[in-house]
Point group: C2
Chain length 343, copies 2
DNA sequence: CGTTAGCACTCGCAAGCAATGAGTGCTAAC
DNA sequence: GTTAGCACTCATTGCTTGCGAGTGCTAACG
């Protein structure tokens, strides 16, 4: 569809624009040592590329900038992802060599590394509910009226919730309930807990205690605990350093959106069947606030099943090659780290 | 020091500037129905006020704006904190009437209410370590090599940490250790835990187990767990809506600072001996990034001892009266909520 | 003597305008 | 097919000008 020369020119334009954030003119392209054509020739090709929809002109008499389609082509044809210095690779490697034994810490630190290395905003999604099951359930009384319910998951995460003890329920009664839950619900995936509570536990519970209904309500609320505050952000203010976001209003929309955990989760949840590194350019993100942003995501996994997602959000004018290499490395390293842990 | 009329004029100027964010001229003051003087008279007074350091002129031939000293005077002489609508009061009251039984949730929600009602940024400091003690300690084995240590505090907070089990330690040994810790350390303030571990527990531990040293290292790291990730932010992007921060560079510094938890903690920790509502205007905050911001803080307490701090960060041109009323109410309500809980 | 009217003066700001220059499209020549 | 040349476009810059909001000062007024 595109001639070799057109591809080359498109590449140069995207690269240049990523660097400078300014429209690229024919003259500056022609002056590059690896381009052997005069400005006029370049101009002809650029006109063609614009007609094909790969380039845009902010206004007549300005240079060209890549269109979304142009970025898309560029991204789809990035060849060998060089563009990452050995020193940087080393940063990553030494990080993962460190002894980190809390999942949450690993994720958090990974987010920081990502945003620092790229100068964009990083969004990490923790291990997902779907692949995590209950390992242990516990209830610790605090005083006569309240207790802490503790849920330990198969990935070692611990969630807790303070609950009110229904009046009249004795300690031994509570113990029985806890034992019942552990025998019935261990190894059940988290997202199935609530349905299992009703299908398997409820009847038996009725036999154990007279406070059947109150207890069921409490247990329901415990198992309901949101397993979704597991979105980690880092480098949000990096957005502000990008020249395209010097307009405060635009950036506010973006930052506001970054504050909405549920939205982020939806955005970062991989579409079924897709794996590897995903790039969503500009309006391909279905949020209007991200119309001028690109989101690059990758998944990390355990035993072939994807556990979570790492993502980088930046302007459409993003250093795709570089970011994609970094993501590739980090997602792989996360995967191996996890498999070492749980083997 | 100031005449009645000067005070009145200063008040009008501050009020006006808070509303409009634009320098206030003599004419507009004179036109207010409650001001019975001509622009010329006002001008004379304004010249005096400027000489005294209460007002500033951005440039000749512009109106006046309050200086830091002017704000300070204004704040110190705010009289009846009216300025809060019954409907708003109701919002707060119904919020605190809701059944909230997790400390963390209360704090988080309070942060949201504060930022929503004021349209500024709210910073909340959770209950401090100093007034919290250990209620319960627990160790849950995950598999042969790792376990989750769980610490429940007297305020109902639960912290957990994954630790490696020293090889060779049996389950019964672990249980003994846990029992020992509970008998020795319950009701000890969190910040004393580590010293008590060595002074009271260590010797006895040596008699119980042959893995004395390894276990001590593990326990040390467990009790070390940072109790400091308890700064809650809400409405950070509200900063962006203020006209004085339409310059992205300034706002970036502020947002960056807001991301630094330790700095925030330091800033929000009340200076000894001070209580009630504190206002720090402009450069009174010792961070250069906050030179154009004001920080209003209040503490909430339990049984007379202050537990934590709530704060609002906004531009120096802040609705002091309004914000201070809201803070007053919320800090009091937080205090009563807590005392109801723990009584 | 405090207050006010009047007036000259300052100065930021917006509008208008010309010069600049980067960049284009087109045509004709190589 | 490539390139040199040229007329044209248009955002940006710098400059001038006029406007108006606001001041400070002086003199007059009750």
């Amino acid at each position: 569809m595109l001639t070799e020369r057109q591809r080359m020119i498109l590449n140069v334009i995207v690269d240049d624009y990523i660097r400078s954030a300014e429209p690229v003119g024919s003259r500056s392209i022609s002056k590059r040592p690896d381009v052997g054509y005069s400005p006029a020739t370049i101009r002809n090709e650029m006109a063609d590329l614009e007609e094909l929809g790969f380039l845009e002109q902010p206004h007549t008499s300005a240079g060209r900038i890549p269109s979304h389609k142009g970025y898309r082509y560029y991204v789809d044809h990035i060849t060998p992802w060089n563009s990452i210095a050995p020193a940087e690779l080393n940063t990553i490697r030494t990080f993962f060599a460190e002894k980190l034994n809390v999942m949450e810490q690993v994720i958090q630190q990974s987010a920081m590394i990502l945003s620092h290395m790229t100068n964009y905003t990083s969004i990490l999604l923790g291990p997902e509910v779907f692949h995590t099951s209950l390992r242990h359930f516990q209830l610790l009384p605090l005083n006569e009226t309240t207790a802490v319910a503790i849920i330990v998951t198969s990935t070692g995460q611990v969630e807790n919730k303070t609950v009110a003890i229904p009046p009249g329920v004795s300690v031994s009664e509570m113990e029985k309930v806890v034992n019942l839950l552990n025998s019935k619900l261990v190894n059940v995936p988290l997202f199935k807990l609530k349905s299992r509570l009703y299908s398997e536990v409820a009847q038996e519970l009725e036999r154990y205690t007279s406070h059947y209904e109150e207890l069921l309500i409490v247990l329901d609320s415990v198992l309901d605990s949101e397993h979704d505050h597991q979105v980690y952000l880092s480098g949000t203010t990096n957005m502000l350093t990008q020249p395209e976001f010097k307009d405060v209003d635009k950036v506010k929309d973006i930052l506001d959106l970054l504050g909405e955990t549920p939205t982020l989760m939806k955005m970062m949840t991989p579409t079924a069947g897709e794996s590897g590194i995903q790039v969503r350019i500009g309006t391909e993100n279905d949020h209007k606030a991200f119309a001028n942003c690109s989101l690059i995501t990758a998944t990390y996994s355990l035993e072939g099943e994807s556990l979570g997602t790492i993502g980088i959000l930046g302007p459409t004018r993003m250093e795709y090659a570089r970011v994609m290499s970094i993501m590739e490395i980090i997602s792989k390293d996360l995967t191996t780290l996890l498999s070492h842990w749980y083997k």
